[in-house]
């Protein structure tokens, strides 16, 4: 008869186990739904811009290290203060590069600078399409294009 008791015990434990499995699954579902809602809200608020530049390295701290710069559709970059993005560095030309958003993607074009414009470490000689996450080097300043 101990066999029968054991079977009942095992059956009970097994049902408990499966119940616990599904409890976990329900909790996962709950968390997923919660996150979905907050992600929606977050997306709403971050949809405003078309992109931004994160400053990774800036020896003269202009633009300041670690800041992000919100971008418009057309951005000029250079040592001249009239540029949309003003860069303080001896290796940067006055009108160094143009960063433009055309349709769906970002493009960068060198404006005949002395030291050139680099994308992901490669010097560009014509307008180049940028992906989010690409690294833009102008003089000694390194920036990254972010969403």
């Amino acid at each position: 008869m101990t066999g029968e008791i054991l079977r009942v015990l095992l059956l009970g434990l097994q049902l408990g186990f499966v119940a616990l499995l599904y409890l976990v699954l329900m909790r996962f579902a709950g968390s997923l739904l919660r996150d979905l809602r907050s992600a929606e809200e977050a997306q709403m608020s971050s949809r405003s811009g078309i992109g931004r530049l994160s400053v990774l390295e800036s020896p003269a701290d202009e633009p300041p290290n670690g800041t992000t710069i919100a971008l418009g559709p057309i951005n000029s970059i250079g040592r001249n203060v009239n540029n949309t993005i003003f860069v303080e560095d001896d290796f940067v030309s006055a009108n160094h590069a143009m960063l433009t958003f055309r349709g769906r993607s970002w493009f960068v074009e060198d404006q005949g600078s002395t030291n050139g414009t680099y994308v992901n470490g490669h010097r560009i000689d014509r307008p180049v399409a940028l992906s989010f996450g690409d690294e833009l080097s102008i003089g000694r300043v390194r920036m990254r294009l972010d969403r």
Partner: protein, 512 residues
């Protein structure tokens, strides 16, 4: 934009997960039931290890196989090695064969599981109830036939032509299945010995052995040609006496008569042709019947395809017998007239099982109706003791058989077979092979010997098919086929055995 693509990817992956869920559900819910009853399911195998199997009784209630559970392992004991090739074996190590396999689920009483079973019956630990089987085979006749074959390799098949009930089905050499069905660890060695034995004791010759039939197939040729109206009992072939001496030229190939034992050739009709077993006569008959009709009759008699002994899903398998080379499990076309003429007297490409030959004899004995053979008579509740229980749960009987030739054709063939055993020429030809029914007063047998020439130095296989009682007005109660491998001429090896087996049965079954 990447975010959009990711969302689409998510949809695709969701679909993939849904499909996979579906396939899991398919096996775990929809197919679970049908899977659980398949014999090679490990669950079934495992259950068999510990479950009691039902007992198998012979027709008279003698125990043939019984089981007991020792230390959680179910072990099978077989009482009679002569029965092994019918019962098969149920080994914990090698699976099961024979009736043990085809009636597996009934013997162990495996119940069909369902989803609720998992919850309920596990708790109740309900054990399936084993069932017992009763066979149509009479152990006394089986043992008698096995003793007649003795140390020779061969087979004896005896069928009641009225019902198809198999009375005896012996294959030799045989073996005791108890050692390989007992302790699984001790089973390997005896099994290896059986597998390596050059005498091939594992082969169930009665059902699975294919042999050249020789002259016994002339019975088929005669019945087919009579039924088709190609010959009458009086038909003769004018050229036959000359051809007996000089040979019969077919397609440029000369067919020669075998040794007639000093009998002078004459213009023989059917009865005489059967008595002296004339090859030339039956070559003519076969050619006149033609290849197409020859094959049509062959299929009617059960050649060219598997024979089922028993209810369809539980039938013992019988290897298809052939009259030509095989073609995808069917009889292929004859390669030419020589091939057809040779098959007509049982040589050529013909290859048959003893069971098929017993059915041929039974069809003639049964006035042209070939019975449906069966081995298991009924299924009963499990008996505790050595006697079968009274409660019959399921029974199998005569399927009614199939008419293969007209009663007239059967009667004419039967007459020839009676003469082949008892006629003047028959006795002369058969020499010392007197196969009248020893010790049985005024009962007669009918039959036909066969000597299957194998070519070369090999001694021929010895055949006999026949039935008894066969005197006029009598209804035959037993039809037999006897094969003795390398047993010499039909009258030397097989005929005496067949005669004694038929006589023994008439004695056992109470008539004379």
């Amino acid at each position: 934009m990447i975010a959009t693509n990711i969302r689409r990817l998510g949809v695709y992956l969701m679909l993939a997960f849904a499909v996979v869920s579906g396939s899991i559900t398919w096996w775990q819910v929809v197919e679970a039931h049908s899977l659980s009853t398949r014999p090679d399911n490990p669950e079934v195998l495992a259950a068999r290890r510990s479950l009691l199997r039902g007992t198998i009784f012979d027709a008279e209630g003698q125990v043939l196989a019984s089981s007991e559970v020792i230390d959680g392992l179910s072990r099978r004991t077989y009482t009679d090695p002569a029965m092994t090739h019918v019962l098969g074996y149920s080994s914990l190590r090698f699976g099961s064969t024979g009736l043990e396999r085809t009636f597996e689920d009934i013997l162990v009483g495996q119940t069909d599981p369902n989803p609720i079973r998992d919850l309920v019956s596990d708790v109740l630990a309900r054990q399936p109830e084993p069932r017992d089987l009763t066979l149509t085979i009479d152990r006394r006749l089986q043992d008698f036939a096995a003793a007649q074959l003795g140390a020779d390799a061969g087979a004896v098949v005896a069928i009641d032509p009225r019902t198809g009930a198999v009375l005896a089905m012996v294959s030799t050499p045989t073996f005791d299945a108890t050692p390989i069905s007992g302790d699984p660890d001790g089973a390997q060695e005896p099994m290896d010995a059986l597998r390596n034995d050059p005498a091939e004791p594992l082969l169930a010759r009665a059902r699975q052995g294919l042999y050249v039939p020789g002259s016994i197939l002339k019975v088929f040729t005669a019945a087919a040609a009579l039924d088709a109206g190609v010959i009458s009992p009086d038909t003769t072939y004018p050229d036959q006496p000359r051809e007996e001496r000089e040979g019969f030229v077919v397609d440029g190939f000369t067919i020669r008569e075998h040794d007639l034992g000093g009998i002078e050739p004459a213009l023989w009709p059917l009865s005489e042709a059967l008595q002296v077993s004339s090859n030339i006569f039956f070559a003519h008959v076969g050619l006149e019947l033609g290849a197409e009709r020859f094959l049509e009759y062959a299929r009617r008699f059960g050649f060219c395809g598997p024979i089922r002994m028993g209810p369809p899903e539980r039938a013992l398998s019988v290897t298809p017998s052939l009259v030509t080379g095989s073609l995808d499990g069917d009889c292929g076309p004859f390669s030419g007239d020589v091939d057809l003429a040779s098959a007509s007297f049982g040589q050529g490409q013909a290859a048959v099982t003893p069971v098929q030959m017993a059915l041929l004899a039974a069809a003639i004995a049964g006035d042209g109706v070939m019975p449906d053979p069966y081995v298991v008579r009924d299924v009963r509740a499990h008996a505790d003791g050595d006697a079968p229980a009274d409660e019959i749960l399921d029974s199998f009987g005569s399927g009614g058989g199939t008419r293969v030739v007209s009663a007239e054709a059967a009667a004419a063939t039967r007459g020839g077979m009676v003469d082949a055993v008892n006629g003047e020429l028959g006795r002369l030809y058969a020499g010392q092979g007197d196969i009248t029914l020893y010790g049985i007063s005024d009962a007669r047998s009918a039959g036909k010997t066969g000597t299957a020439q194998l070519g070369g130095e090999q001694a021929p296989h010895s055949w006999f098919i026949g039935f008894a009682p066969a005197q006029e007005e009598a209804t035959p109660r037993i039809a037999v086929a006897v094969l003795v491998e390398s047993g010499g001429s039909g009258s030397d090896g097989a005929a005496p055995i067949a005669g004694r087996v038929m006589a023994e049965w008439l004695r056992l079954s109470g008539g004379d």
